[in-house]
């Protein structure tokens, strides 16, 4: 090594070490920022009095209250029902769309591409109020005119809305998976005598599966977490979990919400592990 290079490396080394220390410090501070509120929330879910200021003792009182809370259980059931059904429908429609858009050229294709990205880009509250107006001013009147049935907002309208915002997300994830797709695999299968149906199920589908699972998981989480679109399409009868939590949070801070939050946190950690497992398959 030349002397000048050595010298610049030495000073560079110091700068680099300082840079590294700063990066580590920044990372430490940010992880603390992300996790301290969550840790405190978990700790106070085990408090034995109503206060969230001091730990007065440990108990599982708030968790037993959760198990016996009928409203909460109904909301949880609604949420799971909506999340599962909207995930299934949007995953099928989103995957078909990704295949169609990736492999074929047709009229209005680029216009439809824009429509597919729009729900991701526009603010959620706009989507919420547009669906509220649509159901009340167009959908229900048309149904009433056609069949005489008087409908109101409820679980079916929540489901319809969740499918609408989930399709684009599934589409984007599956489409990304199709970008690196090696089409020669399909040609090989066809050359070996497989028909198109068989080629799809034995070659295309297994390769796409991690993308489809990733899209489905994203759709499931988005549906489970959604507040804004749901609040405008739910009516008054049947709240989902986020609507129920929101009403509790607006009322004030109690250890019961802490206990519920802790349970939801554990569930989302399970989802993270699942999604990492799905990625590992890629």
């Amino acid at each position: 090594m030349r002397a000048t290079r050595g010298a610049s490396l030495a000073t560079g080394g110091l700068a680099l070490r300082l840079g590294k220390a700063t990066l580590a410090l920044n990372a430490f501070a940010l992880f603390a920022f992300l996790y301290v509120p969550i840790l405190i929330l978990i700790i106070f879910s085990f408090n034995d009095t109503r206060t969230v200021a001091r730990l007065t003792g440990l108990s599982l009182e708030w968790y037993t209250k959760l198990i016996h809370n009928r409203d909460l259980l109904a909301a949880a059931r609604n949420s799971l029902l909506i999340a599962l059904s909207s995930t299934i429908v949007s995953t099928i429609l989103g995957t078909l769309t990704a295949l169609g858009m990736d492999r074929f050229r047709f009229r209005l294709r680029s216009a439809f591409d824009a429509v597919l990205y729009l729900p991701i880009v526009i603010p959620e509250i706009v989507m919420g109020i547009s669906l509220l107006l649509f159901f009340n001013l167009a959908f229900f009147p048309v149904i009433e005119l056609a069949s005489g049935a008087k409908l109101t907002l409820g679980l079916p309208t929540i489901l319809i809305s969740h499918i609408a915002f989930n399709i684009p997300f599934v589409y984007v994830v599956v489409r990304a998976r199709l970008v690196g797709f090696d089409r020669t695999m399909e040609e090989a299968a066809r050359d070996l005598g497989a028909n198109e149906w068989r080629t799809f199920w034995r070659v295309t589908f297994p390769i796409l599966l991690p993308g489809i699972l990733g899209g489905a998981l994203l759709a499931f989480t988005l549906s489970l977490d959604d507040y804004l679109v749901t609040v405008f399409t739910a009516g008054t009868a049947s709240p989902t979990m986020p609507l129920y939590i929101y009403s509790l949070v607006r009322k004030g801070v109690t250890p019961e919400i802490n206990a519920l939050s802790t349970v939801l946190l554990l569930a989302s950690m399970g989802l993270v592990v699942l999604s990492l497992a799905a990625q590992r398959r890629e």
Binding site: Y35, V52, E124, I125, S130, F134, V272
Partner: protein
């Protein structure tokens, strides 16, 4: 494209048709209705009157300084939150990307857990920490630094903090994806060619990881400018943003046409912003 695609020109539309029809009815049509309603006079009991006598009064009302002010304030808060998330998130993404492979996935998981956690739960955690009975006041009282609780919540600061807390993971993940792909030996090459660290970063690393930065900006700015949950919970009705304003038109104010006009204004603002950023990213990528 391979030959098999050309012979079946009808297959593509067929695969796309179900989702296209669904989104036409349950996404595009509702937006058209919002557009129509924004030109209709509101009814006396809420609702709307006949669409046959259109009015532009709600758009005129929109340029009232009061509402223009709230739009500007929302944009200002969103820019601030986006700036903080990107400036703090980029070094974090670099840190994760440069750590030994063994540590990388646990560190990444630490960012992903909040990302997948219910947004309300995390906002509530922050509210509890800042509240009069919360952890920060508790700590300061216990240390004897203050004698009565500080009011840390229900102001613009607590809203900004809550938004940064809520959307920070959205900024880190796309920037990490770009930084992970970036070849660090390029920095060495730049330094061998005589560039100092700052110049190597500005002229090599930043342009090459810019798509991730751009995705982070869009992913944070878009939801924050139209945010409702955080200003509602962390602002306690005292911090008005576009989201809370729109919500009020469909709640207590019962003014659907005005809420519709406001929603369209917000939508145009956001979509124009995103298109502008996408265009600028295309220009940035071309010379490289």
């Amino acid at each position: 494209m391979t030959g098999s695609d050309d012979k079946s020109g009808r297959r593509g539309p067929l695969l796309v048709l179900p989702a296209a029809a669904y989104l036409m009815i349950f996404f595009v049509l509702p937006l058209i209705i919002v557009l129509v309603i924004s030109f209709v006079e509101r009814g006396r009991a809420g609702g709307v009157r006949s669409p046959l006598a259109p009015t532009i009064q709600y758009y005129i009302r929109l340029v009232d300084p009061l509402y223009v002010g709230i739009f500007f304030k929302s944009a200002r808060i969103a820019l601030l939150v986006t700036g903080v998330c990107v400036l703090l998130g980029y070094p974090l993404a670099v840190f994760i990307g440069r750590s030994p492979p063994r540590l990388r996935s646990p560190l990444l998981m630490l960012v992903m857990i909040p990302f997948w956690t219910n947004f309300l739960v995390r906002t509530y955690a922050m509210k509890q920490l800042l509240g009069a009975e919360g952890g920060i006041n508790g700590l300061l009282l216990w240390l004897g630094l203050i004698h009565s609780p500080l009011s840390l919540i229900f102001n613009e600061f607590s809203v900004v903090l809550g938004l940064v807390y809520g959307y920070f993971p959205f900024a880190v993940l796309p920037m990490y994806a770009s930084i992970e792909k970036f070849d660090l030996t390029l920095m060495e090459a730049a330094s061998d060619l005589g560039a100092n660290l700052r110049r190597a970063f500005l002229q090599v690393m930043l342009p090459l990881t810019f798509p991730g930065v751009l995705a982070a900006i869009v992913l944070v700015f878009v939801p924050v400018v139209g945010a409702f949950i955080t200003p509602d919970i962390m602002g306690g009705g005292k911090v008005e943003m576009i989201g809370t304003l729109i919500n009020r038109q469909f709640g207590v104010a019962r003014n659907w046409p005005f809420g519709s006009a406001m929603s369209l204004a917000l939508m145009v603002m956001v979509v124009a912003g995103v298109l502008y950023y996408l265009r600028s990213s295309e220009e940035k990528e071309r010379p490289i």
